[in-house]
C-alpha cells in the first residue's frame, strides 16, 4: 500500500523511487527508456542465438543439428523477435529517453500509459518464447505468417497471433505518446520546422505505426478465425483468397520497413552534424524527404508480391512507385555527405557507426532498387539476395544507428564515459564480420539459393561456410559491446557536461547525467534548424 502513501503525498515534489518498484511502477521517461533498451538488448541476444542456430545448420549441406520443422521455427521466431522485440522497442526506448530532453518536455505526455506500453512487451515476448515448448512447436510460417501456412499449424501459431496483438497494442500506445509529446509538449521556441530531425523521424514513424499496426492486428485476427471459427478469409473453398492475406499483410509490412528505418535516419542526422562540426545540410529537405517516404510507403506494398501474380499494370505501378522512394532516400544520403563535406570531422565511435550506416545502408538501398524491378525480382524473389538486402538495411541500418545512438548519448544517460578503445573495436569488428556474413549472400541469391531452407545444393557450400563463420564472429563481437556498457556503467570516467564539442542540441545544454526530472518548468528557447540551441533561459530541473 506504499502506492497510496505516495499518491496522498501529492505530486508536488517526488524523488527517485527505489528498488524494484522504481522499474515496475515507473512513470519517468528515463526509467522507461532504460527498460525498453535493456529489454530490446535481451531480445537482440535471443534473436541472435536463433540466428546462430540457423547459421550452424547451414554451415554444411545436409541436415546437421535440426530437423526442417524446427529450422523453420527458428527462422520465423528470429524474424519476429528481431522486428517486434529488438528493433522497434529499441527505437521507442531511444525516443523515450531523448525526445523530452531534445524538445524541452517535462516527460512523455502520458507517463502512466508509457509504462504500460513497455510492460506489455515482456508478456508478448514470453508468449513467443513459450510457443517453442507447446505441442507442434513455435510458428514456422516465416515472420510474414503467410496463409495458408499460418492457417494450418499448431497452437504455437495462436500464441504468436496473441503475442502480435499485445505487441501491437504496446507500439500503438507508445506511438500515441510520442506524437502527442512532440505536438503538444515542445518548449516555447522549439517550433516544428526547427526541432531536431530525430524528433521528426520519431513523429512520422509513430504515425506509420498507428496507421499499420491495427491492420496487422486485423489480418492475424482473420487468420485466427480461419483457424478456429470456420471462416474462409484465406480459403477459396468459401470464396476467400490466400492472396488477400499477402495484400493486407504487406500493407502493414512495407511501412513497417520504414518504421525500422526512419528513426535510424533521425539518429544519424543528429550524430553526423555533431562530429562534422557543421549544421545539418538541407534541414528542410530532410523533413520533406522523411515525410514523403512516409506517404510513399503506403503505396508500394505489392512489390513483395511480384511472383504472387497481379495484372501487368499493377506490377508497373508498384515497380515505379517503389523506385520513387529512392529519390527522397537519396536526398537524405546526399545531405549527410554534404554535411560532412569540408567539416572538421573526428571519428569517435558514434561517428564511426553513423558513417558505417551511410555506407552499408546505401548498399542495402541499392540492392532494394534492383529488387524493385519486377522482371528482376521474378528471378531473385525468395532467394538469399533478399536476405542479404534486408540485413544490410536492418543490421547495418537500424542496428548500427542504434549503436551510434547508444554511444552518442551514453555520457548523457549515465554520466560516465564508455571506453573509446572498446567502442572502436566493436565498430571495426562488427563492420568486418557483418560484411563477411551478409555480402556472400548476394552471390548465393544470384546463384539461386532459396531462403528459409535447412539444406542446400553442394555448389553453395563455400559461401555458406563464409557466412556462418562471419555470423558467429559478429555475434561474439556484440559481447564486446555488452562488456563495454556494463563496465563503463560502473567504472567509466565521469563524463564532462559536454563530451562532444560539436553537439549543440538541447539535451547537451542540461547537466550530465540528465537530472531525474528534467524541465519540470519548460525552458524559453531560441533554436536554429535541427534543434541547435542559440539561447536557453529558465527550465528548472529536479533530482
Amino acid at each position: 500500500m506504499a502506492m497510496t502513501d505516495i499518491a496522498q503525498a501529492g505530486h508536488g515534489h517526488h524523488g527517485k523511487p527505489q528498488g524494484l518498484a522504481r522499474w515496475l511502477f515507473a512513470t519517468n521517461h528515463k526509467d522507461i527508456g532504460s527498460l525498453y533498451l535493456w529489454f530490446s538488448f535481451c531480445m537482440f541476444l535471443s534473436g541472435g542465438v536463433l540466428a546462430l542456430c540457423i547459421r550452424a545448420e547451414l554451415f554444411r549441406p545436409g541436415l546437421q543439428f535440426f530437423q526442417p520443422e524446427l529450422f523453420n521455427q527458428f527462422t520465423t521466431l528470429h524474424g519476429l523477435i528481431m522486428v517486434f522485440g529488438a528493433i522497434m522497442p529499441a527505437f521507442t526506448g531511444m525516443a523515450n529517453w531523448m525526445l523530452p530532453l531534445m524538445i524541452g518536455a517535462p516527460d512523455m505526455a502520458f507517463a502512466r500509459m508509457n509504462n504500460w506500453s513497455f510492460w506489455l512487451l515482456p508478456p508478448a515476448a514470453a508468449l513467443l518464447m513459450l510457443s517453442f515448448i507447446v505441442p507442434g512447436g513455435a510458428a514456422a510460417a516465416g515472420w510474414t505468417l503467410y496463409a495458408p501456412l499460418s492457417t494450418q499449424m499448431g497452437m504455437g501459431m495462436d500464441m504468436t497471433i496473441f503475442a502480435i496483438h499485445i505487441m501491437g497494442l504496446s507500439s500503438i500506445m507508445g506511438s500515441i505518446n510520442i506524437i502527442v509529446t512532440i505536438l503538444n509538449l515542445r518548449a516555447p521556441g522549439m517550433s516544428l520546422m526547427k526541432m531536431p530531425m530525430f524528433a521528426w523521424a520519431s513523429l512520422i514513424t509513430a504515425f506509420l505505426i498507428i496507421a499499420v499496426m491495427p491492420v496487422l492486428a486485423g489480418v492475424v485476427t482473420m487468420v485466427l478465425t480461419d483457424r478456429h471459427f470456420g471462416t474462409h478469409f484465406f480459403n477459396a473453398a468459401g470464396g476467400g483468397d490466400p492472396i488477400l492475406y499477402q495484400h493486407i499483410f504487406w500493407f502493414f509490412g512495407h511501412p513497417e520497413v520504414y518504421i525500422m528505418a526512419l528513426p535510424a535516419f533521425g539518429i544519424v542526422s543528429q550524430v553526423i552534424p555533431a562530429f562534422a562540426r557543421k549544421p545539418l545540410f538541407g534541414y528542410a529537405s530532410m523533413v520533406y524527404a522523411t515525410s514523403s517516404i512516409g506517404v510513399l510507403s503506403f503505396m508500394v506494398w505489392a512489390h513483395h508480391m511480384f511472383v504472387t501474380g497481379m495484372p501487368a499494370a499493377a506490377q508497373l505501378f508498384f515497380m515505379y512507385a517503389t523506385m520513387l522512394i529512392a529519390v527522397p532516400t537519396g536526398v537524405k544520403v546526399f545531405n549527410w555527405i554534404a554535411t560532412m563535406w569540408e567539416g572538421s570531422m573526428s571519428f569517435e565511435t558514434p561517428m564511426l557507426f553513423a558513417v558505417g550506416f551511410i555506407l552499408l545502408f546505401t548498399i542495402g538501398g541499392l540492392s532494394g532498387v534492383t529488387l524493385s524491378v519486377a522482371a528482376v525480382d521474378v528471378q531473385l524473389h525468395g532467394s538469399y539476395y533478399v536476405v542479404a538486402h534486408f540485413h544490410y538495411v536492418l543490421v547495418a541500418g537500424a542496428l548500427f544507428s542504434l549503436f551510434a545512438a547508444i554511444y552518442y548519448w551514453f555520457p548523457k544517460m549515465t554520466g560516465r564515459l564508455y571506453s573509446e578503445r572498446l567502442g572502436k573495436l566493436h565498430f571495426w569488428w562488427s563492420l568486418l564480420w557483418f560484411n563477411v556474413t551478409f555480402f556472400p549472400m548476394h552471390f548465393l541469391g544470384l546463384a539461386g539459393m532459396p531462403r528459409r531452407i535447412p539444406d542446400y545444393a553442394l555448389q553453395f557450400t563455400e559461401f555458406n561456410q563464409i557466412a556462418s563463420v562471419g555470423a558467429f564472429m559478429f555475434g561474439l563481437g556484440q559481447l564486446i559491446f555488452l562488456f563495454n556498457m556494463l563496465r563503463s556503467l560502473r567504472h567509466g570516467a565521469p563524463a564532462p557536461q559536454l563530451p562532444w564539442d560539436g553537439a549543440n542540441t538541447l539535451e547537451w545544454r542540461i547537466p550530465t547525467p540528465a537530472p531525474y526530472h528534467s524541465f519540470v518548468e519548460a525552458p524559453q528557447l531560441e533554436v536554429k534548424e535541427n534543434g541547435v540551441v542559440v539561447r536557453l533561459s529558465g527550465g528548472r530541473h529536479e533530482e
Binding site: M3, I6, A7, A9, H11, R22, L24, F25, A26, T27, D107, A109, F110, A111, R112, M113, N115, W116, L120, P122, P123, A126, L127, M155, D158, I161, F162, A163, H165, I166, S175, I176, I179, V180, N184, L185, I210, A211, V212, M213, P214, V215, G218, R227, H228, F229, T231, H232, F233, A236, A237, G238, G239, G240, D241, L244, H247, I248, V520, A522
Partner: protein
C-alpha cells in the same frame, strides 16, 4: 483554453503507478488463456476468466486514479490538449483496424469471387456461381440466406442516428451549463445504445436460428459477422463509456470548460456511428 495552455509552464506527470503492470499481467493471462481456449484446453477458460477479472480491476483502479486527479484539478489546458490529441489518434488506429476488414470485404467482392467464377476456374469449380451473397462453394456445406437490410438493420440505423443527435443535445447542454439537458440527453444516448445492442442480439439470433447464417457461411457469413461483430463490440464499449460519463454527470462532475471525458465519449460514439453507416451500405444493402 488555448490561452491557458500557452502560458502554462508546468505539466502534470503522474506518480508511480501499479496499474500498468497489473494490466500487463491481465493481458498475459488473456493471451495465454485464449491460445489454450481456442485449442479446446480447459485451462484456457480459467486463464481468460482470470485475465478478464484482473483487467477489470486494473481499469477500475486506473480510471479511478485519473478521475481523482481530474477532480483535484491536476489537468489544466495543456494536459487537456494532450488528452484530445491522444483520443484522436486512438480513434484513427480504430479506423485502420476496421479498414482491414472492409478491405477484406471489398477484395472478396471485387476480386476473388469474380475470379473464382470466371472461365479460368470452370475446371476447378464447375458449379461455382459468383453471386452475392455467395451460396455455392466446396467449403460452404449448409444452405443459408442473407440478412435483410430493411428489417432490424434499418431500425438500428435509425436508433444509432438518433443517438448521435441526443449526444449532441447533451453536448450543447454541457456547453451552455444546462445540466437538465445534459443529463437527459446522455441518458437517452445510453438507452439507445442498449437498445441497439439488444436489437443486434435479436438479429444474430434470427440469423443463426432462422437464416442458418454462421461464421462458416463462406465469404458472406465471415465478413457479415466479423464486421458487424467488431462494430457491436465497439458499441458495447461506447455505451459503457457513456454510462460512466453519465454517472459522473449525476455526481456533479464536469463544467462548461472542463469535460474532456464527455467529449472523448461523444467522439467515440460518432466514430461508431459512421462505421455503422458504412456497414449498412456495404454489408447489408449493396
Amino acid at each position: 483554453m488555448t490561452v491557458m495552455s500557452r502560458s502554462q509552464t508546468h505539466y502534470f506527470v503522474p506518480d508511480p503507478s501499479r496499474w500498468p503492470v497489473v494490466g500487463a499481467v491481465a493481458l498475459f493471462c488473456l493471451g495465454l488463456g485464449a491460445a489454450f481456449a481456442v485449442n479446446g484446453m480447459p485451462a484456457g477458460r480459467w486463464g481468460l476468466l482470470a485475465g478478464a477479472l484482473i483487467l477489470l480491476y486494473m481499469l477500475l483502479g486506473w480510471f479511478g486514479d485519473v478521475i481523482r486527479e481530474s477532480l483535484r484539478g491536476n489537468y489544466q489546458g495543456k494536459e487537456d490538449l494532450s488528452f484530445r490529441w491522444g483520443m484522436g489518434w486512438f480513434i484513427f488506429s480504430e479506423v485502420m483496424f476496421f479498414a482491414a476488414f472492409f478491405g477484406a470485404l471489398f477484395w472478396v467482392r471485387v476480386v476473388s469471387l469474380p475470379t473464382l467464377g470466371s472461365a479460368d476456374y470452370k475446371l476447378l469449380y464447375p458449379d461455382f456461381d459468383a453471386a452475392w451473397p455467395l451460396a455455392t462453394g466446396p467449403g460452404i456445406t449448409d444452405v443459408y440466406s442473407a440478412m435483410e437490410a430493411l428489417g432490424l438493420p434499418a431500425i438500428n440505423t435509425l436508433v444509432l442516428l438518433t443517438s448521435g443527435a441526443t449526444v449532441t443535445l447533451a453536448h450543447w447542454g454541457m456547453l451552455s451549463g444546462d445540466r437538465f439537458q445534459l443529463k437527459w440527453g446522455l441518458l437517452a444516448t445510453v438507452c439507445l445504445g442498449v437498445l441497439f445492442l439488444t436489437l443486434q442480439v435479436h438479429e444474430y439470433r434470427h440469423a443463426i436460428s432462422e437464416l442458418n447464417l454462421t461464421l462458416a457461411s463462406g465469404a458472406y457469413g465471415m465478413t457479415f459477422y466479423l464486421l458487424t461483430g467488431f462494430h457491436g463490440l465497439h458499441v458495447l464499449l461506447g455505451t459503457i463509456i457513456l454510462a460512466v460519463v453519465w454517472l459522473r454527470v449525476m455526481r456533479g462532475h464536469f463544467d462548461e470548460r472542463h469535460h474532456f471525458a464527455f467529449e472523448a465519449a461523444s467522439w467515440y460514439w460518432h466514430f461508431v456511428d459512421v462505421v455503422w453507416l458504412l456497414l449498412f451500405v456495404f454489408v447489408y444493402w449493396l
